[in-house]
């Protein structure tokens, strides 16, 4: 009966209200594949049929790429391919590990501060801004140079803690943009609990920002670890890492350019893939807030 008075149901919803679903593109999946390969290689490096990265074969010093040594050997006769695969362990461990620390602390605090506002927000934000103004890279170098002997866990911890204010700021900004939306108010009005609002309404809408920032963050940390290794402030040789491989090869650069090129290439490809995936996701979800 009452249905009679209603205007005709509009069914053609998808007509012009749906945004064109931009596909992520094949390059995106190539990048995901490459990253996956890198991660798998790092995890299973010791199980894979690779030569010992530390074994010095004096019979084959500065060898060119061959079937025996896929990417050749270095000035101490060590297999470069094997060293690159083992070296990725350091980069990936530092990148992922420190971001787990950074997001583990920064993200919940940022969400809570942006949602609750008030005094909690004021205190947290002021504190974080103080630490944010601190040049994080200098701080990391400083702490790592004093806190000897250097170890992987310490590097992860220091970089992770240094990234907390950045993560906090990004997540807080993203949450604030969402928390002022009417649908959050609407959820409150329906009697939803704070926890429900944080999980159901806020989290899905800031997740794209979080994920793309996470990827860019890992890329930044990997770069930073590379620079530290290059300066001799990361894991101690002979443990291979991309950064210290590049550093060690500098002296023999003119005799054996492969030595510089291969680890550089490995690192750049890894970073390129991370950045590309982050960038694609960002434009896919139309995220504009992320800035490093």
């Amino acid at each position: 009966m009452s249905e009679m008075t209603r205007p005709a149901t509009e069914t053609e919803t998808t007509e012009f209200t749906t945004p064109p679903s931009r596909s992520l593109g094949w390059l995106f999946w190539v990048c995901v594949g490459w990253l996956g390969l890198n991660v798998l290689g790092a995890i299973f490096a010791s199980v894979l049929p690779l030569p010992d990265p530390l074994y010095q074969n004096y019979m084959a010093i500065n060898a060119s790429p061959s079937l025996h040594h896929l990417l050749g050997t270095d000035d101490l006769g060590r297999d470069i391919f094997s060293r690159i695969v083992f070296g990725s362990r350091v980069s990936i461990a530092v990148g992922v590990g420190s971001m787990i620390i950074g997001f583990g602390i920064g993200a919940p605090l940022g969400m809570l501060a942006a949602y609750r506002r008030g005094r909690l927000d004021a205190i947290l934000t002021t504190a974080m801004y103080v630490f944010l103004a601190f040049p994080a890279i200098v701080a990391v170098i400083a702490v790592l140079s004093f806190w000897t002997p250097r170890a992987l866990a310490k590097i992860i911890l220091v970089i992770g803690l240094a990234s907390v204010p950045l993560v906090y700021r990004v997540i807080r900004t993203a949450t604030m943009a969402v928390a002022t939306k009417d649908y959050v108010v609407a959820a409150k009005v329906q009697g939803a609990t704070d926890r429900r609002i944080l999980v159901r309404e806020l989290l899905p809408n800031i997740a794209p920002v979080g994920i793309s920032f996470l990827l860019v963050g890992i890329a930044t940390v990997v770069t930073l670890e590379g620079a530290l290794a290059f300066l001799g402030l990361s894991v101690n040789p002979p443990t291979p890492s991309w950064g210290n491989m590049i550093n060690e090869s500098r002296t023999v650069m003119s005799q054996n350019p492969w030595l510089v090129l291969f680890p550089s290439l490995a690192m750049c490809l890894f970073l390129l893939c991370l950045n590309f995936i982050g960038d694609r996701l960002r434009s896919h979800f139309d995220v504009t807030e992320v800035k490093l």
Partner: protein, 325 residues
């Protein structure tokens, strides 16, 4: 000869979803010191029409065909430098949103005297004096002080006055006012509309007043055009269109808007459905799917805008309403 003469103007926007016929086959003319009202809902193409008359649409994203003649000078397809010579001095635009129409990092005075200095070649001090005069003319109190203000320091009503002063700076013969009062409160809207009336009479300019609000055009325009889905569906003198409308859409528009003079709880005559998607227009009349009078022919064939008698009242409908209701 009329001041502005638009013949068969069509504009296609190139969107990621495909080509969109934003304006289709529009003809209109505006005489000296005349005011033409253009009414339509959002998506009817009225803003696109205004911008394409100006020639402001970016060529990479829109293509126009037909003819727009201002004082006999053809504007469609004209070179950018030729268009620039007409803008501000012959035709100027008042923009819809005073919050975004002003450059936020430039003092408002500078934004007004920029036109005077760059286009009219006035000296810095002469331009400044003229800009202050203009600010005073549009009713801004203490214009010397406001000259140095940034847009962020002014209220919405004040900003719209600045936008008007900017449009009037080089004394154009035609002003295109695109929803000049939409974002404003009723009392401010009344002030701005009266100001426009007053200035138009004083400066002898013609105006095209574009709005979604029938109330805005009812008493302020001599002629009226109603737009739907990129086309003019009815046009004539304002009085004719209001009192003797023939097109069912015009009537629907009039009857669906609540009025202050109607008693409370007056049942509104809602138009079912919603405006059509311009990307998927069918063969027939664009309003047919929502029209209570539509016949089979309306869905098949598009009615042309035509004048049945010797009056200037034209409409595009196969089943026009009876006059004199």
């Amino acid at each position: 000869m009329s001041l502005l003469d638009v013949q068969n103007l069509s504009v296609t926007l190139h969107t990621p979803h495909g080509d969109l016929p934003a304006v289709a086959d529009v003809s209109l003319s505006v005489g000296a010191e005349e005011t033409l009202g253009i009414v339509g809902e959002s998506g009817s193409g009225k803003t696109m029409l205004a911008r394409s008359i100006m020639g402001l649409l970016p060529r990479a994203r829109a293509s126009a065909s037909g003819s727009v003649k201002l004082k006999g000078v053809e504007m469609v397809g004209a070179r950018a430098s030729d268009l620039r010579r007409l803008w501000a001095t012959e035709v100027a635009m008042i923009f819809q949103d005073p919050m975004t129409a002003l450059n936020p990092v430039m003092r408002v005075g500078r934004q007004i005297d920029e036109t005077l200095r760059v286009r009219l070649g006035l000296s810095r001090s002469a331009a400044r004096a003229r800009a202050i005069e203009l600010l005073e003319m549009v009713g801004i109190p203490s214009p010397e002080k406001r000259y140095a203000a940034y847009p962020g320091q002014l209220s919405g009503g004040m900003r719209q006055r600045v936008v008007i002063a900017m449009a009037l700076a080089a004394s154009p013969s035609l002003i295109l006012a695109d929803e000049p009062t939409t974002g404003l409160d009723v009392t401010i809207q009344a002030q701005i509309l009266n100001l426009l009336d007053e200035l138009q009479a004083r400066l002898h300019t013609s105006m095209i007043l574009i709005t979604h609000d029938l109330g805005v055009v009812a008493t302020r325009t001599s002629h009226l055009a109603v737009m739907y889905a990129g086309r003019i569906v009815e046009t004539g003198t304002t009085r004719d269109v209001f009192a003797r409308h023939r097109m069912p859409y015009t009537r629907a528009l009039l009857e669906s808007s609540p009025r202050v003079s109607n008693p409370a709880h007056t049942r509104l005559t809602a138009i079912p459905g919603r405006p059509p998607n311009l990307l998927r227009l069918g063969e027939g009349c664009a309003f047919a799917p929502r029209c209570g009078f539509a016949s089979e022919r309306c869905h098949r064939e598009r009615p042309e805008l035509s004048v049945p008698d010797e009056s200037s009242h034209a409409f595009a409908c196969f089943n026009p309403l009876e006059v004199g209701r």
